[in-house]
Symmetry: C2
Subunit: 353 residues, 2 copies
Amino acid sequence: MTAGLDLTSDPVALTAALVDVPSVSGTEEPLADLVQAALEAVPSLSVLREGNNVVARTELGRERRVLLAGHLDTVPIAHNLPSRVEDGRLFGCGTSDMKSGDAVLLHLAATLPDPAYDLTFVLYDNEEVEADKNGLGRLVASRRDLLDADLAVLMEPTNGAVEAGCQGTLRARVRIPGRRAHSARGWLGENAIHAAAPLLTTLVRYDAREVAIDGCTYREGLNAVHVEGGVAGNVIPDACTVLVNFRFAPDRTEQQAFEHVREVLAPYAVELVDSAPGALPGLAAPAAEHFVRAIGTTPVAKFGWTDVARFASLGIPAVNFGPGDPNLAHTDDEQCPVEQYVACEEALLRWLG
Amino acid sequence: MTAGLDLTSDPVALTAALVDVPSVSGTEEPLADLVQAALEAVPSLSVLREGNNVVARTELGRERRVLLAGHLDTVPIAHNLPSRVEDGRLFGCGTSDMKSGDAVLLHLAATLPDPAYDLTFVLYDNEEVEADKNGLGRLVASRRDLLDADLAVLMEPTNGAVEAGCQGTLRARVRIPGRRAHSARGWLGENAIHAAAPLLTTLVRYDAREVAIDGCTYREGLNAVHVEGGVAGNVIPDACTVLVNFRFAPDRTEQQAFEHVREVLAPYAVELVDSAPGALPGLAAPAAEHFVRAIGTTPVAKFGWTDVARFASLGIPAVNFGPGDPNLAHTDDEQCPVEQYVACEEALLRWLG
């Protein structure tokens, strides 16, 4: 076990301390123990532990409450521990996704003297693995009351941009039938691979929608992500399967999104494989307006699905905002420029201070 | 070891005897031993053994020589031994493909008193497995002289029809490139599966040629037989591979056939995987004309590739003609109607007697 975390140290040193306690999904306990102990040492916070989730809350009687959240887990370590600072950047597993955001969050939790809002801090486990293990999802199910807030800020890496809401995603399978025959007498069969041609042409011609919501432009996309068909080199294939992925703007529900895919791909029979809802940006809410004004950058749409959708499903506006380059997440070369910690914390202080 | 084969017994009994000596590809030796011994007992024949190939020839000084061929091996046994006769049919592994043909061939070899042609009988191994093991192919390479003939009759099951020549076949691979991207930002990538749409549309619209040669109509076909593409459910795929199979009429060489596929599928890059030449029917040759007249049925084109192509490559006209339903070959329910043995042998006697 490492010595206790000093939450008052600067966020770069604090990130390095967090990074140097490995916490690959499923092994977050040592780090969660350290985080819990450090937050319990802050007099203004009441702390709750659930599994390897740690929730800390102020009870200052403010009119509004806002929530800052980050996950404690990382993808598997790729020979990139311990952390090191080089050329003004902190390198190591989790420096982008998302122990930098966690560090800013924890530093604020320990140092903010008189916040404008009551605050809830959520550090959760198992974000990088199957959705049903997700720590935030478990809290939604078991301790919904702890998550109440007027705005949630998920401190995933955004390079310091405000990325509002998120698009939904669904996957659907199209099974194209055919009839087998020996390929020397192909006219006796029906080639299922050939029968996929109009489907693929429909996907090529699909005119993806762009939707502006609260000033953020969401850009949809419908793509084949897998195709498979064939029996043998001398057989007309009787089956071909195409898996499509639809990324949809948050003004559609999951059901509406699936109906849209069915309509677009008709007359092919389409079977839903899985889906996750989008999240409306909700930037019209007062706490969100205040946040955007304080941060001072124009919000943009989040295209990828993130846990902000879990807050949106509770009716809580939620944005992604944090230090680190999202394109470096999950890479061996994960890193975060030191100046982003400073900028991110300063921006949050303009909002909360 | 079974008792010796009686080649003078009727072809149904002789087929049953052949079927009851299992000879799955690679295990033909016991059956080849029996066949060799039985042929060596026929005074008019000189017999040669090469591996599990057995070749028997008359040397009667006739003006022309014809060749009858059959393979000794079968596909794996499917709980369908020993043979049994039921409802006027002989059931068992090899009854269709092609011990019925072998039996007619062997019966003629032992009983034909004064044939119109010098005769060569070829019983060969390893037809049902990889082409480079094929016994007839080995003879072509090592004892080309033994195969000289004015016509070759391959006694594969044709339900008693004369199937002339055969179509060639080639397989070619089309690799369609793309560029990976996260499917939430699909416009940053190039979807290789979508890029296959024009290829499949070309295959759908392909106008297959029908070619009449020596009164036989060959019908070509160009088909996708396999397709595969995709990286993960949230990734724009950067590769998609389509395998096509072209069955071509014997007026095209393998090289011409591949050039045709390249032209049809341009601008896609096409890579040849393998090919086998077709066989021209060669029915204008005197021995072939005589054969067709004697059999008394109108020859039809053979669509599937068979070993007749090996004779054609030597400049020897070759036809498929034999008892048994080719559609039952390789099935658990393999069988041959008794009357087909009689009809087939009578037809051959009209030609050779």
